[in-house]
């Protein structure tokens, strides 16, 4: 059993370790290590295509995480007062959203968006009041942010709700009893209490979007996020530069995940 578990872990992590290791390779071969160097990181960061993709990724991740956190928190709050069958239905939908494979979400979102765009664009063109050509709805930033935001929202709802469930209901009553209006109670008691959950949800939403390749691949249109850039570069062979990018993405993601976990743990203690 031990050996089996060990084998699984090795199988999972050795390739990742190799990527990280070879990103520090002084030579340009992906198969033999020729001394330590950070030159590939410099190369990657001075590559305008990489920087473009990084900017796109960061913009999309930040926007979708903000939206997901905002709407996810509001949804979690609203779900507090939903009871019975309706509650069960909502819960099921949220968990399904998290469990549906990315490729299904990607394809479904793509089809849905294209259908809607095809339907809306002629209408938009017809009612456009100005002389120049009407703007066309296309895949791009908007669809990326929407798809990522929607998916990450489910994550945020789950995390924030877990945090709310752990919160002492009598705190809200105590606040009202002491004269705070419902909004005052939300601002001064509920929000500080669930803030660790919100922050952790934000970080997870950001990480999810920053890492995601599958959904982005379908809905990115002409935009290139970092994972898409890596994917298309690999077709020209794996270079240490790609390894460096991969290692950086990995590093950022791990950092954010650890931070999210730490926030939730700390919050649990202080809450």
């Amino acid at each position: 059993m031990r050996i089996y578990a060990l084998a699984v872990y090795l199988f999972l992590y050795i390739p990742i370790g190799i990527i990280a290791l070879f990103s520090f390779n002084a030579g340009r071969h992906a198969s033999q290590f020729q001394g330590f160097s950070t030159q590939w990181y410099g190369k990657a960061l001075s590559n305008p295509f990489v920087m473009d993709a990084l900017t796109t990724s960061l913009t999309v991740a930040l926007s979708s995480a903000v939206l997901a956190t905002l709407f996810g928190t509001m949804a979690a709050m609203a779900l507090q007062s939903v009871r019975g069958r309706l509650r069960l239905a909502f819960d099921a939908l949220i968990y399904i959203a998290v469990m549906v494979p990315g490729i299904v979400i990607g394809i479904a979102t793509l089809i849905a968006l294209v259908t809607v765009f095809d339907w809306l664009n002629p209408i938009l063109a017809a009612i456009w009041p100005l002389a120049d050509a009407a703007p066309k709805l296309t895949l791009g930033y908007g669809s990326l942010i929407a798809a990522h935001g929607l998916f990450a929202m489910a994550l945020v709802i789950i995390i924030v709700r877990a945090r709310m469930a752990g919160m002492d209901r009598s705190l809200i009553e105590a606040s009202a009893d002491l004269g705070a209006t419902p909004w005052g109670t939300f601002r001064q008691v509920t929000l500080p209490q669930i803030f660790p959950g919100i922050l952790a949800g934000f970080l997870l939403a950001f990480t999810f979007s920053f890492d995601d390749f599958i959904i982005a691949f379908f809905v990115a249109g002409s935009q290139t996020t970092l994972p898409i850039y890596v994917f298309s570069s690999i077709r020209r062979g794996v270079t240490p530069e790609i390894n460096a990018i991969g290692t950086m993405v990995l590093g950022v993601s791990l950092l954010l995940l650890v931070a999210a976990q730490a926030i939730l743990q700390r919050g649990r203690k202080a809450g």
């Binding site: 009598s170 009553e173 105590a174 009893d177 002491l178 705070a180 209006t181 001064q188």
Partner: protein
């Protein structure tokens, strides 16, 4: 708040709060039914009753967390059924204190003042907070975090957080349930002192009869969502109207029987084996009804010789209680009952040992004849 709108004509005698036929149903569950109670200005009133009898529900209707299904809640003569909790000049000390963990002790206590509009200046809030900490004997604790304090200290902070607002009613829902026995006794005395000192009307919920008896001006005894009897501890002890109250307040011996005779101020009850117990019925009772005679252990005397209306008993057990000795005695017809003998009486009569034969007696009218509900 609404107190500012009230005319000055209101007299000291008008109740500060009232429940008028207040009922609360949760679907088929009747949590409170037709509660009628006028709460006097400045009194210390306790709701006493077993678990699930509706004490918390009554308190929460006063605080505004529950809206009565029917009936009215009045504060200072005004109907407040539809006034939300944050607009009621009433504060509550929660059972588990419900202190805000993300705020310091001082911020917790100042919370209520900061909600006022216009908001008082910070210096004024700080002064009020310091004074409240002083009142609960915790000066200098302001900067502490909530989890750095013991249960007793948290309890005091919760109290300070409520009294700093000078509420018309201070509601306390089993505030001492989480404290150990010694600390509870201390807090009881402190709470009582505080109430006298502040003159705020206190309403305490408890299922500890000793606590209610020792602290309250009046006790409201509840059962199954209804009020059974309201009165001072002495009234409830001396003149319970039902067996339930006699049983709940202090110790008593009960002898079940059937009413045989009702005359002015004297009701007779036939208990086991043709024995009669005569007593006073606080509530009218008809001949033929089943009833219970209640006799407090200290109203029964124990002697070696028979004199007047006595029953022969055998001493079964003896418990030394300091100033008193409690005997468990047995009569063939009446069964086992308790007798409390004072040190004085024992000195003149001599002590009794288990196995001794003796005579138990009580004065006419000592027994209460109570209906069974």
């Amino acid at each position: 708040m609404e107190s500012n709108l009230k005319p000055f004509s209101e007299t000291q005698a008008a109740p500060i709060a009232e429940l008028r036929g207040a009922s609360k149903h949760y679907g088929a569950v009747v949590a409170a039914e037709g509660l009628n109670l006028a709460i006097r200005r400045g009194e210390f009133l306790s709701f006493l009753g077993p678990s699930g009898c509706g004490k918390t529900t009554a308190l929460r209707m006063l605080a505004g967390f529950e809206t009565p299904t029917s009936g009215d809640i009045l504060l200072d003569g005004q109907r407040v059924n539809d006034v939300p909790p944050h607009q009621r000049p009433v504060n509550m000390v929660f059972q588990h204190y419900a202190l805000f963990p993300h705020l310091t002790v001082a911020q917790n206590i100042g919370y209520g003042l900061r909600q006022r509009r216009p908001r008082p200046p910070e210096t004024e809030i700080a002064r009020a907070v310091d004074q409240a900490l002083e009142t609960v004997r915790m000066p200098g604790f302001g900067p502490r975090r909530i989890w750095e304090m013991s249960g007793g200290q948290q309890q005091r902070v919760a109290l300070a957080r409520a009294i700093v607002n000078q509420p018309k009613l201070l509601l306390l829902d089993e505030p001492m349930a989480a404290l150990d026995k010694k600390l509870r006794r201390e807090m009881q005395i402190e709470l009582q002192t505080l109430q006298r000192q502040l003159g705020i009307t206190f309403i305490l919920v408890t299922h500890d009869q000793e606590e209610a008896l020792s602290m309250s001006d009046r006790i409201c005894i509840m059962r199954g969502g209804r009020i059974v009897q309201v009165g001072s501890p002495r009234e409830l002890y001396d003149r319970p109207t039902t067996r339930y109250v006699a049983d709940f307040v202090g110790k008593s011996n009960f002898f079940a029987g059937k009413v045989t005779k009702v005359a002015a101020g004297r009701t007779e009850l036939a208990v086991a084996a043709g024995r009669q117990i005569a007593g006073v019925a606080p509530v009218d009772i008809a001949v033929g009804q089943t009833a219970t005679a209640s006799l407090r252990p200290e109203q029964i005397a124990l002697s070696r010789e028979t004199a007047g209306q006595t029953v022969p008993v055998e001493v079964i057990n003896r418990i030394f209680l300091g100033e008193h000795t409690e005997y468990l005695v047995r009569n063939i017809d009446l069964g086992d009952f308790l007798v409390l003998v004072s040190r004085q009486a024992e000195a003149s009569e001599g002590g009794f040992e288990p196995g001794d034969q003796a005579f138990a007696s009580w004065t006419d009218g000592a027994a209460l004849i109570l209906s069974d509900d």
